[in-house]
Amino acid sequence: MEKIKKGVRLEHISKIYTDPKTKNDFYAVKDTSITIDPGTFVTLLGPSGCGKTTTLRMIAGFESPDEGEIYLGDEPINSLTPNKRDTAMVFQSYALLPHYNIFDNVAYGLKLRKLPKEEIRDRVLKILDLVELTGMETRMTNQLSGGQQQRVALARALVIEPSVLLFDEPLSNLDAKLRVQMRTEIRRIQQEVGITAIYVTHDQSEAMAISDNIIIMDKGVVAQMGTPHQIYYNPVNEFVADFIGEANFLRGTMKGIEGNLAIMELNGQRFKVEYHEGMEEGRQYTAVLRPEASCLSDDKGVSCKVVLSCFMGSYQNYHVMVGDSLVRLEEYNPKNKKIYKVGDQCRLDFDPASVHVLPC
């Protein structure tokens, strides 16, 4: 696969749809600019209806953007039809051709390119080996399991050696276990081939597990783009913080600085968070608290009241009220710790360094 790798660039892309009921136009995707580096695995993540599929289909060429330009490498591709674009898509429903066997399904794209027979054969067999389907060439598509069909779909996309692979929720029809196995597989193959991949999902753990970069979308706009690490620890707003992992929000007013920590006040109680450049005294901020990064104690932290206490095996699940904010937390390995009951008054403690602060 000696091919120059290509990235994808979206410049101020918008797509307008008409609501079939009200006949009003609305932005399904709005003013989206994304740069995807060659050879990276990028995930589009977001709630249902946020425009992920639309974005992907614009890159594939099935939809035409109403504003902006899409580049493949340095070439603008807006006016190219899907069959002329150097991309290949893996569909959610697999979309295998039911009247062909596995071999012919994979060979379809190569036959269209009028390659010599022996070369087609070699390449198909090589790809089938890569996705571990050797020996199944003559089966029909309905004689395969869901996971195997998924591999055929992947092989079919890979075999034409596109510059970019596109995935639209490829694993959502599989059961949970197979999903985990297949996502590792997809990641392995992507790295082996070194291809640029854009992957749509609304499953955050899937996104975390396989991506170099995650793009969080919300109502048609990009909310944040970054590595899984950046997105988890430095979400740019409450939406991102809440969407990736669980998050608790404590709103407080900044009262002062103490070394590299900022002092916040909430209902007369004070707590500390990490100080960021640009935080101003007297302004309101939201502290983002991860459930796994906080704990209950008798004497340290802000006072709170337990409203739910539930043993989950590996952890104790608590809901506590701090003023009128609800905080959910998980205390792992509860066997050796004090268990608080509903109604107990106690204190919520957390490490200031693991709290992220957002402007309100």
Binding site: I16, S64, M89, M140
Partner: protein, 571 residues
């Protein structure tokens, strides 16, 4: 917010696909030229007509012709009556089939009844009606000893059309009833409602839009029907026959054009109500497959009378059809029954150019059928799978053809093509050739084919074609390597349906055929008019044999080479 760029890009992408653009342009030209233009010329003719200059003169003239105004009331009366009877009988048959436990014999009869209208030429029932119940009818004269019974006229048409069209209603209701969730009715039963009460309070209200739909479909078919009123109408003229006589008898082409416009307006109005109000609603209330099997009614007091009634009805219909080949074997119908003879069949081929008639009908239909099937698949593909600006036009015009009675189309072709396009002499060569007959065949079968093509394509996940497109196939490749193979069965049945419809067509054709071509249906009509029932029956029997053979061949083909079944379950 402006969709300008997206639309422009879509257009650019479309233009990058020359096969697709050519196809669309050709299709639009074809549809405009052979559906829209003939109808437009009728309008132009009837408003300019006699004196030149725009006026209502032609209309005021034809409305002063008493036979025409009578024909309007006649047509509506017949349509109304047939609509009611066919709907009621169809509903009864469907109810019995879906709700009542039947024995094998009755079940078999039902199947035959649902199949007959597919293979039968339009006027077979009129023929047998006359032979069984007419002045010299076997039943009336020889069994009941009634010597002056007349089947010609209002009731003759009503009975024959009801028998012809009720199987269509039956199939429609069968689909609807099967989709009603049995638990709805069981709930009512459970609360103490009697079976009759359940039908009137639950089933019937659910079916109401469907009943309206079936009624209008039959109504339209009835008022568009030419063959039956022609043979069994006697002096009772309907619009279709009046228009025909206005052209062939009175040579009044402008008048006929105006009459055709009147008929078209009636069917079009009904069609719009049916298509856009009732069809949508009749399915909307009843979506979703039934969750469980239905408890069939085994209660003898319900089962036996209903099954017997329907079986008798079905037997009657079957008898009407069997009467035709038997009629061809009697030496003289109504007077001399024995010994049975093959002389009519022999005469067909010796004296009456049977071979030529069958060859002409067969060849023309054989050419028209594949073109129709392919065209309707292409139209369905474009309508269901692609988006482009003129799509709505293509869809609307091909559906419009469904609402155009054959007679109207025939008059439109005479006016539109006999003097060339817009009477300028352009394309004049087309008129009177076999080509124009083939085109009429195509246009007449296109809507049915398109409708079943659209239904078949809707079942195929859009992403299958998209994936092929994405792999690098252009539209032409996608259509030939993915779409067509996936709807092979639908294509095949479209092919046979088009063939059968073409070889049994008469209403438009009878106005356009020239002596150069002998068509079977026209022959049957002629001999039946003259009272030569032996010859008419002989022609009709062979025609039934051909159409039945075609359907049989198709079923065999689908059984052994059909694809759909094999990968229906593939996801």
């Amino acid at each position: 917010m402006a969709k300008g760029q997206g639309a422009a890009l879509d257009k650019k992408k479309l233009m990058a696909d020359p096969v697709m653009v050519t196809t669309i342009v050709l299709l639009i030209t074809f549809l405009s030229l052979f559906i829209l233009y003939p109808l437009a010329i009728l309008l132009v003719d009837s408003f300019i007509g006699d004196g030149g200059g725009l006026s209502f003169s032609v209309f005021s003239r034809i409305f002063k012709i008493p036979t025409f105004t009578t024909a309007i009331t006649n047509t509506l009366k017949v349509g109304f009556m047939v609509g009611i009877i066919a709907t009621a009988v169809g509903l009864l048959f469907a109810y019995v089939e879906v709700y009542v436990k039947m024995n094998r014999f009755a079940g078999g009869l039902f199947k035959v009844v649902s199949m007959l209208p597919v293979v039968s030429p339009p006027f077979v029932l009129s023929l047998s009606m006359i032979m069984l119940f007419g002045k010299a009818g076997i039943i009336t004269r020889y069994l009941l000893k009634i010597y002056d019974n007349s089947v010609y006229g209002f009731w003759g048409i009503v009975v024959v059309q009801s028998l012809t069209f009720f199987p269509v209603c039956y199939m429609m209701f069968k689909g609807l009833l099967k989709n009603i969730d049995p638990s709805l009715e069981e709930a009512a039963r459970d609360m103490g409602a009697s079976r009759f009460k359940v039908f009137t309070s639950v089933t019937f209200p659910l079916l109401l839009p469907g009943i309206g739909n079936a009624f209008l479909v039959t109504f339209i078919e009835s008022i568009a029907d030419f063959a039956n009123p022609m043979i069994i109408g006697g002096n009772y003229d309907t619009l279709a026959t009046t228009i025909y006589l206005q052209i062939t008898g009175a040579y009044d082409k402008a008048g006929a054009a105006a009459m055709a416009v009147v008929l078209l307006c009636i069917t079009l109005a009904m069609f719009i109500v049916q298509k856009y109000v009732l069809e949508a609603r009749s399915t909307a209330t009843l979506t979703g497959k039934a969750s469980r099997g239905r408890m069939l009614i085994e209660d003898k007091s319900v089962r036996i009378p209903l099954t017997t009634l329907c079986s008798l009805g079905a037997l009657f219909v079957v008898m009407m059809y069997i009467c035709v080949p038997i009629g061809a074997l009697f030496p003289t119908w109504g007077f001399k029954f024995f010994p049975l003879t093959g002389k009519w069949f022999k005469l067909v081929f010796t004296r009456y150019n049977g071979f030529k008639a069958f060859k002409d009908s067969f060849m023309l239909s054989l050419i028209a059928a594949p073109i129709t099937a392919l065209l309707s698949m292409i139209i369905s593909y474009l309508v269901v799978k692609r988006k482009f600006r003129s799509k709505a036009f293509i869809e609307a015009v091909s559906m419009l053809a469904m609402a155009v009675p054959g007679t109207v189309l025939g008059v439109g072709y005479i006016r539109g093509f006999s003097g060339g396009l817009f009477h300028t002499g352009l394309l004049q060569g087309l008129y009177g050739t076999g080509a124009i007959l083939i085109i009429v065949f195509i246009i007449r079968s296109l809507p049915t084919g398109t409708r079943s093509g659209i239904a078949a394509l809707r079942q195929i996940d859009k992403s299958i074609e998209e994936s092929a497109y994405d792999m690098g196939a252009d539209s032409f490749r996608v259509f030939t390597t993915v779409t067509l193979p996936l709807i092979k069965d639908s294509f095949l049945s479209g092919l046979v349906t088009a063939f059968v419809r073409s070889i049994t067509a008469i209403s438009a054709i009878i106005l356009l055929v020239t002596p150069q071509y002998l068509l079977i249906t026209v022959q049957i009509n002629e001999f039946a008019e003259k009272g030569s029932f032996g010859l008419a029956c002989a022609f009709a029997s062979i025609l039934i044999l051909i159409t039945y053979g075609a359907v049989l061949l198709m079923n065999l083909f689908i059984k052994y080479f059909g694809t759909s079944r094999k990968f229906k379950e593939a996801e």
